[in-house]
Symmetry: C2
Subunit: 247 residues, 2 copies
DNA sequence: GAAATAGTGTCTATAAGACAGTATAAA
DNA sequence: TTTATACTGTCTTATAGACACTATTTC
């Protein structure tokens, strides 16, 4: 046995402070032109009756990313790796009293996905539903967030807003095929402000492989038929498309 | 006692997997026109003789940020809150076998600071020194990184490079007062490419309150006296100053 | 025809890339 | 006088903002 192997055999890890590690998922979708986030009403203490981000404990033999992907599937049926599902790490939250039960460090994640269905009630939590992000972060008295989850949602929203500026992630929010107006409504919903549609069209079409013509057109509705597109393979928008509030 | 208080009194947290939580610091400085990172040679197993990021265990009653600030002070004498010290969370690393001793989740941080002194050897680690980042990430056989620290340094470097594009953080790398050429050399060292000096000057001076004239001029050296500046209060550069490789 | 929507074209302002050119100080 | 450095100016190009305008479809 090598020196290092002997060391590891004899190593006693019990002297270090034990933490629980969890993941919290900010799952966003755009429905009816509104940015929404999936929250779960807590059926148990602590924070019984408050709303919380979906998530859970990281198992001893999995990474936080794996735990996040697992929880995402359990909660929504979505698989990471599908083209219209995006998962990324947000930030880690570790203030000592953030969970009154025990010492918990939580790794936050952001998930974007196209038009997700209404969650079926009574799965494992007492209630799960899509909330408009505006209600969650505003002063809607119907909803109180558990733990430090309001802070986490604030960080997640800013991350998503910023990412639409310099990545093509907006396209993960729409079902294929989509029109440029569909994509424009995503920006409108996420940013809470509307780029001028004519300039928006010019920008999107000028970014190579942001969207590709699907060869189809819309039918029905008022006005001319809109050309439909599918998602391209480019991930970055260069130069960025800036929010008005960032200029 | 309230329902929630009773619940917390009776709560048994022992059923959840115990993790150790650490922080790892990527402490960057620019010395002699070269971007350098502080590494510590491991005197003990595991990875004895390899180089590792400074850091340590998060205590049960402190946040990961507090632990990072504490370790930074222990390692360098720097206090977070000083004007030329910047600390920010990078990312959390949690793959199951990343530390062979035990299950460790590590929160990575990035620290930027002006021209730091050579660390005094034989503090608590067997050896501590500034390594050129290029050597650390290149194939210099003199240096092997412990754990997944090479991956962490790669992420940290990309973070710092990106941040110089859209923030004024480059100024935390220079001692006050500084000339525009000093600031330009920071960009050159971090990016590994040089923006055209004339255009760089125009850009920096066009960003309101990026730098402020100190009213002084350099003395000595070849050529005309350079005007000196101090750091301004603006944190964002809008529009960003892009690397050539990002265009 | 009115209204909503899809899409085009153009004028202007801003900012960056490229680079020429002037001035200053030390060796 | 040569060399390195500090700094200014200008021409061109790329891009975004603003907005007018045409075309198509439903009611």
């Amino acid at each position: 046995m090598s020196d290092e192997q002997v060391f590891l055999e004899e190593y006693d890890s019990s002297e270090y402070p034990p933490f629980a590690v969890t993941c919290d998922l900010n799952i966003f979708t755009v429905r009816d032109g509104v940015l929404k986030i999936l929250l779960i009403e807590r059926g148990d203490n602590p924070f019984k009756g408050s709303w919380a981000l979906p998530g859970g404990f990281v198992n001893i033999n999995e990474s936080a990313e794996d735990a996040a992907a697992r929880e995402l599937f359990e909660e929504t049926g979505l698989h990471v790796g599908e083209l219209d599902v995006h998962l990324e790490q947000l930030k880690t939250y570790s203030t000592p009293k953030r969970d009154p039960r025990m010492r918990v460090v939580s790794v936050g994640y952001v998930v974007l996905s196209a038009n997700l269905p209404e969650p079926k009630a009574g799965d494992d939590a007492s209630d799960a539903r899509w909330w408009p992000v505006e209600d969650v972060l505003g002063d809607n008295p119907e909803i109180t967030l558990a733990f430090d989850h309001k802070l986490i949602v604030e960080d997640a929203l800013e991350r998503v807003r910023a990412k639409l500026e310099y990545t093509t992630l907006a396209a993960t929010f729409v079902d294929e095929p989509f029109s440029l107006s569909d994509l424009w409504r995503v920006y409108k919903a996420v940013w809470g402000e509307e780029p001028l549609l004519a300039n928006f069209r010019r920008k999107v079409l000028s970014v190579n492989d942001f969207v590709n013509p699907a060869g189809e057109y819309t039918s029905g509705g008022v006005g001319p038929r809109a050309k439909l597109y599918t998602r391209g393979n480019t991930t970055e928008i260069q130069p960025a498309m800036l929010r008005e509030s960032k200029q």
